[in-house]
Amino acid sequence: MNVNNVKLFVGGVQLRDGVTTVTDILGKMVVRAGLHVLAMERGYASTIYGAHQYDPLVIGETPPLSYGDDQSDILVALEYDTNPDSPIQPNRDTILRHGKNVVNGGIVLYDSTTTTVDTADLEARGIKVFPLPARQIAQRELKREVVKNTVVTGALLRLLAFDMDYALFSAYLEGRFGRKGREIIDLNLEAARRGRKIIEEIMTANGWSDCGYKLEARPIDGQRLLVNGNDALGMGAVFAGCRFYAGYPITPASAILEFMERHLPHYGGRALQGQNERESIRAALGASLAGVRSAIGSSGPGISLKVEEFGVSGVTETPLVIIDTQRAGPSTGMPTKPEQGDLLMSVFSGHGEIPRIVLAAGTVEECYLLAIEAFDLADKYQCPVFFLTDLTLADGRKDLPEAWFTKNRRPVVRHGLLREADLRHDGYRRYHVTESGISPRSVPGVPGGIFKVSGSEHDEAGMITTDPPKRMAMFEKRQRKMQTYLKEDVKPPEVFGSPDGVPIVIGWGSTKLPLLDAQARLRAEGQDICALHFTHLWPFPVHLVRPLLQRGSHVIVVEMNYSGQLAALIQQECLIETRRILKYNGRPFYTSDIVGGVRQLLYNGNHVVRVGDKAPEMVLETVPEGD
């Protein structure tokens, strides 16, 4: 009997089958029961309707470290019929695609409204199969198709022997439909009961007293929140004093724009849906010029279109936080698939050379903490601060204590923003050349703080110049800020284990958790490794990293891209050879990818391992579109 430890895959036809509603209800209930989850909308295609979607939900008594591999304990298939748009039936996708990944002795639950499926091969592996005519029950018996997924949820609760008295479920329904919702609440409870009934019939018919899995509520230590990386980032930004946000809709960054549109007004701020990519960043620069902590968010294509404005931020010294929720490129690429392909662009894009800071979050928690840090750094160094996440992180939800968020807030302190009192004396110079390279900023509207700001080369007063010494002085002043940053603010990579004499395996961004998972597995197999995770990528902290890397036996970099972008930076800065484990097939790293990759590098002597299976995952090809 497997207690409080189960991984589900829920699949169906995008938009139509409401895949997320199931993981959503179950996820929330499980968290309220004091258990922990990882949940994500992973499988969606970048069309609105009709493609196959599948979402993992990992449940644990202790917080699950990562999504692990592509296998699942329980597979739920929501498709029920023929897609009216096509002669080809999508409605067996979920079982066809993911059935092979269900563990022996696992569970398969599917909607049998139109017909049952031949699942002999699954049963042969001891998998318990439950055909459930959920849609039929909803339509015929309950006369409300919408509740079909509640029927499924009811079945799931039974399979997991969870919340059998519906205490949590009713509470959830009340929270959702409120007082006046009595009738619809009862309908949903009834739907759940019908689903449960079918499951119980099948169990008795097969003489199964249980199904091998069980969820037991545990005492809860205060309110918990189920949030994804985008939510955490948004909250961090609000706490950090961000009061202007602009973005042009794009997957997977749109959610941040929606968060800001929803919340900023409460806090006196404004969010702007740009009419194009450049209007967004330019408006944000204008707001920042006016003194507001500002940010923009986009993904690959939208970042590429803003490159010229990074230079403006850098040369005019107008602070800006630039969020890039990376997705699979290049060009339109695969908009709903994750990748880490934008690091070198963040570091080197744009003509000429500007000071810039590049950060990348590795977990939902880091999305929150680094967001707060990003705004402080932008303010202090008056330059663009790139904040990289990726689709896995942006959409991946986990539960965290509400108290954790409040505990990690800190009061906003605007660095070097001059007030009228500071400007009493005459002759304020916006670009005053200082030791640290940082020139105190004034904002328009403050007497005595008048400035002339320009993206052309300028002197201390901001007047345009091409005088060679003035050019050199101003160029060097700007770049000196990065020396100051390396002295005062950069953070070294996080080190897990001792690097001495063992392979050092390096990651950045969302590969952090699979990497730590892999470290545990490798150690269990007797292969010790040191895991290194970067959040502060540029300017590169050579002085901190190089000595560290020299202590290991090998330097192995794990990245979700084709060339190994962090690996390239490490070689350039540290002059140390790197080996690489690379994945760029649009799927996140699985623990096994890294474990296998490290073995190949160590024992087969490869220099680069490219992971990702060669056999097509899909039985039916679909046509996800560019967005």
């Binding site: 609000v238 006196g268 404004r270 450049r278 330019r282 404005e309 005019t316 509400e402 009061p411 328009p444």
Partner: protein, 287 residues
Amino acid sequence: MATQAPIKLWEQNATPKHRIQWCPGCGDFGVLNSLKAALTRLELMPHDVLLVGGIGCSGQIRNYLNGNAFHGTHGGALAYALGAKMANPDLTVMALAGDGDTLAIGIENFVHICRRDPDVSLIIMNNGVYGLTKGQNSPTHGLGMTHEEFTEEDPPFVDPLRLAITCGASYVAQSFSGDPKHSTEIYIDAVKHPGFAVVNDFSPCVTYNKFNSYEWYKEHVEHVPNGYDPTDKSAAWQLLDDFDKRGKLPLGTVYRAVRRRKAHSRLPIWDEELASVDPTPMFQLYR
């Protein structure tokens, strides 16, 4: 500084030690002087004014004037101005740019800012060419010329006034730097207008546009008739058509329509303004 009378502030050149680098006779000198007069008459304090310059000969004007100035990328002026004004509605925000900057590369902003209608004034220093890059045709090139046939390479010009009205600008006017008294009045009017004000100012390029010269403009400009009511949109359209038929260019306010807009106060920027944040509205979504 805050104590000085505005009059002095605007008359003096912001950069006395610098030579003004426009060709002798450049129309932008006229714009500069009218602008100084207008800002003086408006009794604005330079620190409350933000001048966003375009990239081009014309954009230099921001540095020949007092007040805060921003100069970013070619074509971006209006979007920076939008952000600054949204952030701090107490500022007087002006965009000062060329016809190329505004209508060629900057069209991506022009159309949408007309729709958004921020309380920003735009003065287009229109000379029919890209002056700073040595005289290539701008989107307003060809005014007054008769074309037999067009090619994709060499298209007809676009009329900034009609375009602005079509896109929803709430104030649209035209002036001529050869008629500085009138421009001054128009600029004052534009700044006072509580919405996006577009002023298309004919500012001759004496070096690269020999066709649309002062003389040429003098022959073709004509003030809008007194009693003309700019608040009537179809009248505005009528006016533009009439002037076209007569081969004339109207000077004056062609269209004005105050749009109802939700007021907004300056966004919080100081520590004390950012101190208290109630997280509940955010948290409750995820409980």
